[in-house]
Symmetry: C2
Subunit: 243 residues, 2 copies
DNA sequence: CGTTCCATTGAAGTGGTTCAAGTACTGTGG
DNA sequence: CCACAGTACTTGAACCACTTCAATGGAACG
């Protein structure tokens, strides 16, 4: 059963900029189908030019680059509402790979329709640029995290960001959320070794601040977690378009 | 004397996607003026919403974020041809600040014309998205550099990238280019301390690979520098649009 | 039940940090 | 013309946050 854009469970969330009926019906038209992929599957390959673009509807994944040395850098985590493949859409190829961590459902768009979108629907073209700018903004933040913060600060920051993003799309049950990644994934995202990531997680557990176990993250002291992460407890989560 | 888009010294460079006469004349129209700023001046402030967008015509600058802790993370270096302020253009505010390191000349565009551009010139709108995607791609690379590479690799990578970018816009004189930044700027870009950056520069000098002194970078052994940076010596420099 | 994958923990080593001091250059005012 | 102050760069020394190596435990699975 394919989800209609009109009744998309994400669209009503306040993080997403609202759309009127006309706009939604165009999105429905732009959407060429739906895709389910299994946990562990690779959705896009670095250097490839995918004929399709996606929006995550449900499930979680990750974007990553494989370095010349064979190591992996996780660029960010993919949650419902995230747009995937814009790089391949406008440049000729993807700069990173995308894997599904859990089973995922995705809205599918045809790359060949992208030009039509720019020509006929400037508001949506603007939204795509907006999304890309948001992504750029977040990557700038991540760069600062890797460049200037120490282990516990990085982990705390990651937890706060993930929790906020998950809240925005309704994945949290008050101080808790599903977080189905491996410790190695987090380590690769934060530029830390697996061992040190593990020891840092233990520290947060011992501090009674956050507990990540069995694919589930419990935030025990959000205020303290923010303090460690050098974030205001009421830091704003910017609104963005949903494509 | 204002530079005409038609005779823009950058446009003829092969890194930039070509434009036909019509397209150039629209760009001329979109360009609302030219701005000269002094070395050391701040062009845009993090969190602000600039009424103007820019393209660097000449001179160099840097984008950076100031962290909660007061430290600085340099996001990247600005060279001629770089577009500045897209984030403020589409989101409501900039995610980073922009300083001029040398005196700079910039093409100025009015933010209020941005919507008109999306509506009437979908090719240019597409180009803006393209630029944003390129930026995103480069930030992903930088993230991998900070996350996974050691000091000498980071510095070597920075030198190769800067040299390639400078070559693309005609700033190099065979194995040499102007590089008017401070060691602290490079340190803040690479997530290293000033002291360690300095010692790493010395190492590259002692190895006879690269020599950065008095605002001038000499590449003494490009192949070896690439090897240290874990890059192919003939790695491609992607073409991009010039706005 | 052996195998495999992930999480956990200890121990040793190191690439990087911070602290501290000194050099070199440049502009400024007396 | 010199003294001085300010800024950038340089170098040594001590320390430590993180890495790598190594070994173990627990859960899932055919």
């Amino acid at each position: 059963m394919v989800t209609k854009c009109k009744s998309c469970p994400l669209r009503s969330r306040p993080v997403f900029a609202p759309m009127n009926a006309n706009e939604i019906s165009f999105m429905q038209c732009f959407k060429s189908g739906e895709l389910d992929i299994d946990a562990g599957a690779t959705l896009m390959q670095e250097g490839s030019s995918s004929p399709q673009l996606f929006t995550a509807l449900s499930g979680m994944g990750l974007r990553y680059k494989t370095l010349e040395s064979g190591e992996r850098q996780v660029i960010n985590f993919i949650l419902p509402g995230d747009f995937i493949g814009l790089q391949a859409g406008v440049m000729q190829e993807m700069g990173h790979s995308v894997d599904a961590t859990t089973r995922m459902t995705l809205c599918v768009f045809d790359r060949k329709d992208l030009w039509r979108l720019f020509r006929d629907h400037p508001e949506r073209a603007f939204d795509l640029t907006w999304l890309s700018a948001v992504e750029e903004h977040l990557l700038g933040e991540s760069l600062a995290v890797l460049g200037r913060m120490d282990g516990i600060e990085r982990v705390a920051r990651a937890f706060v960001m993930l929790f906020d993003r998950a809240s925005a799309v309704g994945l949290t049950q008050t101080p808790s959320m599903p977080l189905p990644y491996k410790q190695q994934d987090l380590a690769d995202a934060l530029g830390l070794s697996l061992v040190h990531t593990n020891k840092t997680l233990k520290k947060l557990r011992d501090l009674g601040v956050a507990n990540w176990r069995n694919g589930h993250l419990d935030i025990l002291d959000y205020a303290e977690l923010c303090r460690i992460a050098l974030l205001e407890p009421d830091h704003p989560v910017p609104r963005r378009p949903l494509i």
